[in-house]
């Protein structure tokens, strides 16, 4: 996960996306412990309230759960949230490509190719 404080994307959203991406790529598995707010704040030297905010949103969306005194853990069954986030991001990219004049055929071709590569 990387955090870019210069980015236009708010830091809490970068953390949110980072965790969902790690989960989607199976780099974090259900039940696995996440780094604490303190660890993440120090690693990226960012404000702990910002990290706590991202954790709060992840918990609200059922992606993580927290155990008082123990920390935060990845939930199971978060796939639908991650997939709907991925859908939204894919749609945004498609709209952008369309604006730049990319044909539907070409887009489908790219989708097929990247599908094969993975």
């Amino acid at each position: 996960m990387s955090i870019d404080p210069q980015s236009r994307v708010p830091i809490y959203e970068q953390i949110y996306r980072g965790v969902t991406e790690l989960a989607a790529n199976k780099l974090l598995s259900p039940g696995e412990k996440l780094p604490s707010v303190r660890e993440l704040s120090k690693r990226y030297s960012i404000n702990p309230n910002t990290v706590a905010k991202a954790f709060g949103m992840l918990e609200r969306d059922g992606i993580i759960y927290s155990v008082p005194g123990k920390g935060s853990f990845l939930s199971g069954g978060h796939e639908d949230v991650i997939l709907s986030n991925a859908c939204r991001e894919f749609e945004e990219a498609a709209v952008k490509a369309h604006k730049s004049g990319l044909s539907q055929e070409k887009m489908i071709e790219i989708v097929k190719e990247t599908g094969v590569r993975k």
Binding site: Q6, Y12, R38, N49
Partner: protein
């Protein structure tokens, strides 16, 4: 909690701070933005009890700070005038502050001084500028006050020291609910370290909101419309900036994504891109809205 109500500070009859109302809750990391002379340092000096206000009240946890030793020991103000170095060695300086701040930590002081390799037995007035700055910051952190004020926070600190300070602030915020008020021209740093920001201009507080809502509430819009549109077609107090490049309109607009979409819908845009802005861009456009433009400043001119 830090509370300012109707605070005014005059210098030769001219307000450096003009009827300011502000509440800074405990545990918040507060960033002060503003051009030179906006009143940031004056505000910090009032909060630290260095200045007496010419009107209104400056309260720390409900009590006036000026001339109140019991309240002043809750606050440490890191700026270049805080510490009078004189003939003191660092060891003597430490003992001086230790006597004044009840929660002073020898451990924090010694560990930090060692980390940045400051000599304990050398006269501090012989220190370089950077070493003096390090000494003040180390002292400020070791005093372990409930409130830490940083004027031009990270000036004169090398990258390693910056990271050390930021990590210590993380611990202090989490472990004892430290409240920090930070002024800095480095907006990247404010963006990292703070969760709430205020913009000051000519002694007035223009806005005062949590950082994410500041960032979510202004956008850069790129759009093209079927008819030939000009600036005059878009009349809204939320539009801070408009220019046109060929058929593409560049608009800086207040509001979240949905509000902007809704506002522009009647113009039936052929394409519409709504992009979040960096804190630096927001600062520049807000200042432009206040009549403080970067492109009007020339080498010969004076920046306020």
């Amino acid at each position: 909690m830090i509370t300012l109500s109707g605070v005014t500070k005059l210098f030769d009859g001219v307000p450096a701070l003009d009827n300011a109302d502000l509440e800074i809750p405990t545990g918040v990391s507060y960033g002060l933005l503003g051009s030179n002379g906006a009143g940031k340092s004056t505000l910090l000096r009032l909060i630290s009890g260095t200045y007496r206000s010419d009107g209104g009240k400056v309260l720390i946890d409900g009590e006036e700070i000026f001339d109140n030793a019991r309240v002043r020991e809750k606050v440490f103000f890191i700026n270049d005038e805080t510490v009078q170095f004189g003939r003191f060695t660092l060891k003597e300086l430490k003992n001086f502050y230790k006597g004044y701040y009840p929660k002073f930590s020898d451990e924090v002081f010694d560990e930090l001084a060692k980390k940045v390799q400051l000599p304990m037995d050398k006269r501090t007035d012989k220190f370089s500028k950077g070493m003096k700055r390090q000494s003040i910051v180390i002292t400020g952190l070791a005093c372990r006050t409930d409130y830490l004020l940083l004027d031009e926070a990270f000036d004169g600190l090398d990258p390693t020291m910056r990271i050390i300070v930021k990590r210590m602030l993380v611990d202090a915020i989490l472990d004892r609910g430290l409240t920090t008020v930070i002024s800095s021209h480095n907006l990247k740093e404010i963006n990292e370290v703070c969760d709430t920001v205020a913009l000051l201009h000519k002694g007035r507080i223009v806005f005062n909101r949590d950082l994410d809502s500041v960032k979510g509430n202004i956008h850069k819009v790129q759009a093209a419309f079927p008819e030939n549109r000009s600036k005059e077609d878009f009349v809204s107090p939320n539009i801070l900036h408009f220019d046109k490049n060929g058929s593409v309109c560049h608009i800086i607009m207040r509001g979240d994504e949905n509000m902007i979409k809704e506002y522009l819908a009647p113009y039936s845009p052929m394409f519409l891109d709504i992009i979040p802005m960096t804190l630096e861009e927001i600062f520049i456009y807000e200042m432009e809205g206040l009549g403080y433009k970067a492109d009007e400043i020339t080498e010969g001119g004076e920046a306020l």
